[in-house]
């Protein structure tokens, strides 16, 4: 599903060059739930941004579903995001002026889906994230956990094959965090989605099939999930 080949990313910060990722090689198969852990600034989020096409690598290659993305245009990346990728952010990034259901409908609207199809899918997603009763509320009227539920529903509304979650529990309390992680796991499993999760939380990481540890922009180690941990978190 996702193959990274000799991926390298560096930024200019003032006059200095900062290396965020160096020579990252990785293959994630369809349906796998993979998490990335590591200290702040180690390059986890950069990795996710590159896979989502939100940022471009300095060198190396990203292959999605067997297709190289090296020479894709901005619009081709947009189409990939519309059809293949869903993203959950730490800060939720819901559109403030829109209600919960409108936020969920947004990716479908953006790709030109029509009213009845959108309504049906939005109803379905609201139900699956348990937010039907809050559908007319705006982000400011929702708690952090509720906002993240809406964000997850939005990320999965267009049935992406790849779900990218960047610190989804970072802005909510631990109790709600557990619910959110369970929700992501359930929805991804039932939808057959491949999930790439970036997290600080080792507990959240334990929900994944395996965990990559990143340090100084490099993949250090791969740890498989310990049996029984998902149920206990």
């Amino acid at each position: 599903m996702v193959t990274l080949k000799h991926l390298h990313k560096s930024y200019a910060r003032g006059e200095a060059m900062v290396t965020a990722l160096q020579d990252v090689n990785l293959e994630i198969k369809h349906g796998e739930f993979c998490s990335f852990v590591g200290p702040s600034g180690c390059g986890k989020s950069t990795l996710l941004n590159l896979v989502a096409g939100l940022d471009m690598p300095t060198s190396g290659e990203i292959v999605l579903d067997g297709r190289s993305t090296t020479n894709l245009t901005s619009f081709e990346w947009t189409k990939i995001r519309r059809d293949t990728i869903g993203i959950v952010f730490q800060a939720f990034h819901l559109v403030h002026g829109l209600t919960a259901e409108e936020n969920i409908a947004l990716p479908l609207m953006l790709r030109g889906d029509q009213g009845r199809d959108i309504s049906k899918r939005v109803d379905e997603m609201l139900e699956r994230v348990g937010m039907t009763h809050r559908r007319q509320h705006r982000p400011a009227e929702l708690s952090g956990g509720e906002q993240q539920r809406v964000a997850i529903a939005r990320a999965l509304a267009h049935r992406p094959r790849l779900l990218l979650a960047d610190e989804p529990t970072g802005n909510i309390d631990s109790h709600q965090g557990a619910d959110i992680m369970a929700l992501i796991r359930d929805l991804a499993t039932s939808g057959g989605q491949t999930v790439l999760l970036v997290t600080h939380s080792s507990q959240a990481a334990q929900m994944s099939d395996y965990t990559w540890t990143i340090r100084d922009g490099q993949l250090i180690s791969r740890t498989p999930r310990k049996a029984g941990l998902v149920a206990s978190w």
Binding site: N49, A52, L54, D55, S74, F75, T78, R81, R82, G86, I87, F89, A91, H93, L94, V95, H96, G97, L98, E101, E102, A105, L106, P107, M109, L110, R111, G112, Q114, G115, R116, I118, S119, V122, R154, A155, H158
Partner: protein, 870 residues
């Protein structure tokens, strides 16, 4: 430097540097407003100063001027004036205009002064460079000698001894340059752009033998001028006056008052719109710095200092805008001076082309300082609201994520009520009449109208808010439109200000457009109904208005028989138009054969039948009075009017009042026979000619040109203009008069556009995260562009709707109140649908253009950086 000042300076600089593009746009907006105001003020002052300088320069040591009307005064009066006690000297003066002929083409018009050179060569304040070989005395009185101003000689590349050809009235004069004139000081002098001839030569050249235009008196310094003036008036014929030279400037100033005032007020529109721009910028500035304000308050900055900080920031915008605006204003003024001089010369009096040199002399720094002060004051007034808002912010609230707009929303309802109240006040203010001849309350009503609509803008912006998106057939574009509208409607406070600025610009554009179109339509009807002569025979330079002087606008009455002799000519009228004073008003006395006019043409009389009234006026030696003059002098059909004529005061019955749009000074119409018996003036201004039906107009015109060219003494053949051409010319003059209006309007609309760009840029800056989110969840760069453009379109639409309402109401105020009270004209209102569609389309396109660049910028922003935004 005190620490507080240092702190303020550092904070301000950081503010200006934070969003350089917005800072730049705001400064440009203020500078445009200042430039329009500076340009109009400078041009207004310069044109008048130019006139004043010319008057005072030529007057030299003169303390009193004796003058009559445009027909001149008999030089026989000179000896009796000289004998008046206290009069030291009395000199005859001819002040006329000639047009330089350059390779048989008419060129520049110049003022020619006829003076008694033997007496006054050294007393008038000019000096002459004369070739050593010239015999000075002889050359002075040579009938062909002319002394030419230094600036003119340089421009025309002529020197002493060269010949120049001058067109004088219908005649032609070949002159020899006998010397070059300069002022006596090193400063620029009006003499440099004039020509001087000996009085006798000038009398011959201008066909004024035995007449002079003026007698200039120098009086005893120990006797009050007023006392001598009173004595002289007692011995003068009643239609003559004796006044100080400076009075002429104040008379012209008075004549131009309404015209200049309207222009000045229009130039302030740019400042008004600029004020909205500043309000907008400062409101954003405060909203963006809520947290910063909270920190300042938390560490001990007082409320007043917070307000001061933002006021100074606005003042800084004003200062920089003022400097740029003054420079741009002075550049614009150069163009305006030419345009204004032309318009004033077309419509009122010859004022030259603004040669006072005001811009680059002692007035330079005054203009700059004024420009800066205007910029600062306007900016600081615009910033009062946001600054007070900033100062009132509580620390806790400021440190919390801002709910600034929420508080603004609450006020939208209250503002709407205030807006409606202001509209009612505007209606009430439009009822009373003018104060001192100035439509003060009309202007106040205009201000209330615009302020009222501005107060309605926030609720207008919020009005279309909220509807359910899910389940509706949007399509990809529809959703961007919905988000855009939602976002714009979510911020009624600040977007209301942007919409207000746009609305003010557009309302004024539409209001003035409707007024000008209605006025033009009225003039068209008037021209169509009253200009019925098939041909008009006029002096060759007649279309250059007052610029060509009184003699340049006169024809010999002998041409009547020549014209009548042309085959196919059915009738020839003789139209004479001279300016006199009636009850302190400068009025045109028009005389013509009223019976002939009744038969062939008409006047648009207020009541009754034109032919009947014209015949009756001829029968009873009565007057027809223009509507403007009737209003001003408060006379009407059936009343009488006393007019001072060269034959003494005379009371005339007023037979009818007629609509006239040729001058705002007013007109008296009388029969030519009556005029000639009172004014003893045989000249004619133009000959309206009526042809038999089916006549070949061009053939008649050719024949007339042939016959009349023989009578023009080598000058240009007369202008023989057809009815169609004359109507077109009248409308061209009309359009030229309002060109300046369009320029000032455009400036206001451009500032309003900058307001929209400013708003959208800020909106884009604030919503980078939202845009990046949309990109991350599948939105394309094109959709982001659409989003910003839809927002621009939404704001533009609300602005256009309010602008149309405002423009409609404003046009009523302009036509029914301001114009009526300023000039006294009755204008028939029309709704120029085509022009309105053009104006609205222009506004819509301008809005989208204003939105395009922020939209493009928004679409190009890196997604990852946007997602990191707090």
């Amino acid at each position: 430097m005190p620490t507080f000042v240092k702190v303020i300076a550092r904070i301000l600089l950081s503010h200006l540097r934070q969003w350089p593009l917005r800072t730049f746009l705001t400064i440009i907006g203020v500078s445009l407003g200042v430039s329009a105001s500076v340009a109009v003020r400078t041009a207004n002052v310069d044109v008048l100063r130019s006139f004043e300088q010319a008057v005072l320069t030529v007057a030299g040591p003169t303390t009193l001027e004796v003058s009559g009307d445009e027909t001149g005064l008999d030089e026989q009066i000179l000896p009796s004036v000289r004998t008046v006690s206290g009069v030291t000297s009395a000199s005859p003066v001819i002040l006329q205009t000639a047009v330089r002929m350059n390779e048989n083409q008419p060129g520049q018009a110049i003022q020619v002064i006829g003076l008694d050179l033997l007496e006054e060569f050294h007393t008038r304040g000019f000096q002459v460079n004369q070739a050593a070989t010239e015999n000075q005395l002889l050359s002075m009185i040579d009938p062909q000698a002319v002394y030419l101003g230094d600036a003119l000689a340089t421009e025309w590349k002529v020197s002493v001894g060269d010949h120049i050809d001058l067109l004088i009235g219908t005649g032609h004069l070949s002159c020899r340059v006998a010397g070059i004139l300069r002022g006596q000081s090193a400063r620029r002098s009006s003499w440099e752009r004039m020509a001087v001839m000996d009085i006798a030569a000038a009398q011959v050249a201008f066909g004024m033998v035995g007449k002079v235009d003026r007698i200039d008196l120098v009086t005893d310094a120990h006797v009050p001028v007023e006392e001598i003036g009173a004595t002289i008036r007692a011995i003068l014929p009643p239609h003559m006056t004796s006044e100080r030279p400076a009075n002429r400037t104040s008379q012209v100033e008075q004549m131009l008052r309404a015209f200049r005032l309207n222009l000045t007020v229009l130039s302030w529109v740019g400042l008004l719109v600029g004020m909205f721009l500043i309000y907008n910028t400062m409101a954003f500035s405060v909203a963006q710095r809520r947290r910063e304000i909270g920190i300042y308050r938390a560490i001990g900055m007082t409320q007043s200092r917070v307000a001061f900080l933002f006021l100074v920031e606005a003042g800084l915008y004003g200062f920089l805008g003022g400097i740029l605006g003054s420079a741009a204003g002075m550049a614009l003024a150069q163009e305006l001076i030419t345009l204004l001089s032309r318009t004033i010369s077309d419509l009122y009096v010859p004022v030259g082309t603004g040669g006072s040199g005001l811009l680059w002399t002692d007035q330079f720094w005054r203009i700059v300082v004024e420009g800066i002060m205007i910029g600062c004051v306007v900016s600081m007034i615009g910033a009062i609201g946001p600054s007070l808002d900033a100062s009132r912010t509580t620390t806790v609230r400021a440190l919390a994520p801002g709910d600034y707009e929420a508080s603004q929303q609450v006020r939208a309802g209250a503002l709407a009520v205030l807006g409606l109240a202001l509209l009612v006040v505007a209606g009430l203010l439009s009822w009373p009449g003018p104060i001192g001849g100035v439509p003060v309350l009309g202007y106040a009503a205009t201000l209330c109208l615009l302020a009222g609509l501005a107060c309605l803008a926030p609720i207008g912006v919020a009005g279309w808010r909220r509807h359910r998106y899910v389940g509706r057939e949007f399509g990809a574009r529809g959703v961007m439109r919905a988000i855009a509208v939602e976002h714009a409607a979510r911020n009624p406070g600040r977007n209301g200000v942007t919409v207000s600025a746009f609305m003010v610009g557009l309302a004024i554009m539409i209001g003035v457009l409707v007024m000008v179109r209605s006025f033009r339509h009225t003039v068209e009807i008037w021209v169509t109904d009253t200009v019925l002569a098939d041909l008009v025979v006029a002096p060759s330079m007649w279309l250059r208005g007052t610029e060509i002087g009184t003699m340049g606008r006169s024809l010999p009455s002998g041409w009547m028989s020549i014209l009548s002799s042309v085959p196919d000519v059915a009738a020839v009228d003789s139209y004479r138009d001279v300016r006199i004073e009636v009850k302190g008003q400068r009025v045109a006395v028009v005389s013509r054969d009223l019976r002939l006019h009744a038969q062939w043409s008409r006047y648009l009389v207020r009541s009754g039948d034109s032919s009947e009234q014209l015949n009756r006026a001829a029968d009873i030696d009565g007057l027809l009075v223009s509507e403007v003059l009737a209003n001003r002098l408060e006379v009407h059909e059936g009343s009488t009017l006393e007019v001072m004529t060269p034959s003494g005061p005379r009371r005339f019955p007023i037979v009818a009042v007629f609509y006239d749009y040729s001058t705002d000074g007013g007109k008296l119409l009388m029969d030519r026979a009556l005029y000639q018996s009172l004014w003893h003036d045989d000249l004619v201004t133009v000959f309206p000619v009526y042809l038999r039906d089916g006549t070949n107009l061009d053939r008649v015109r050719e024949r007339m040109t042939e016959l009349l060219s023989a009578s023009t003494d080598g000058g240009l053949p007369p202008l023989i203009i057809s009815n169609v051409e004359l109507r077109k010319e009248i409308l061209d003059i009309f359009d030229r008069t309002f060109f300046l209006t369009y320029v000032l309007e455009t400036i206001a609309v451009v500032i309003a556009m900058l307001g929209i760009v400013n708003t959208l840029i800020t909106s884009v800056l604030e919503r980078r995260r939202e845009f990046s989110t949309l990109r991350a969840i599948g939105g394309s760069a094109t959709q982001i562009r659409q989003l910003v453009l839809w927002e621009a379109a939404y704001l533009g639409t609300v602005g256009i709707v309010l602008g149309l309402i405002g423009g409609g109401l404003l046009s009523l105020l302009l036509i029914k109140v301001i114009n009526r009270q300023s000039f006294g004209w009755t204008i028939q209102i029309i709704v120029p649908i085509g022009s309105l569609i053009q104006a609205v389309s222009l506004a819509a396109v301008a809005t989208l253009v204003a939105g395009y660049f922020p939209a493009r910028w928004a679409a190009r922003q890196p997604i990852v950086e946007g997602l990191r935004e707090e």
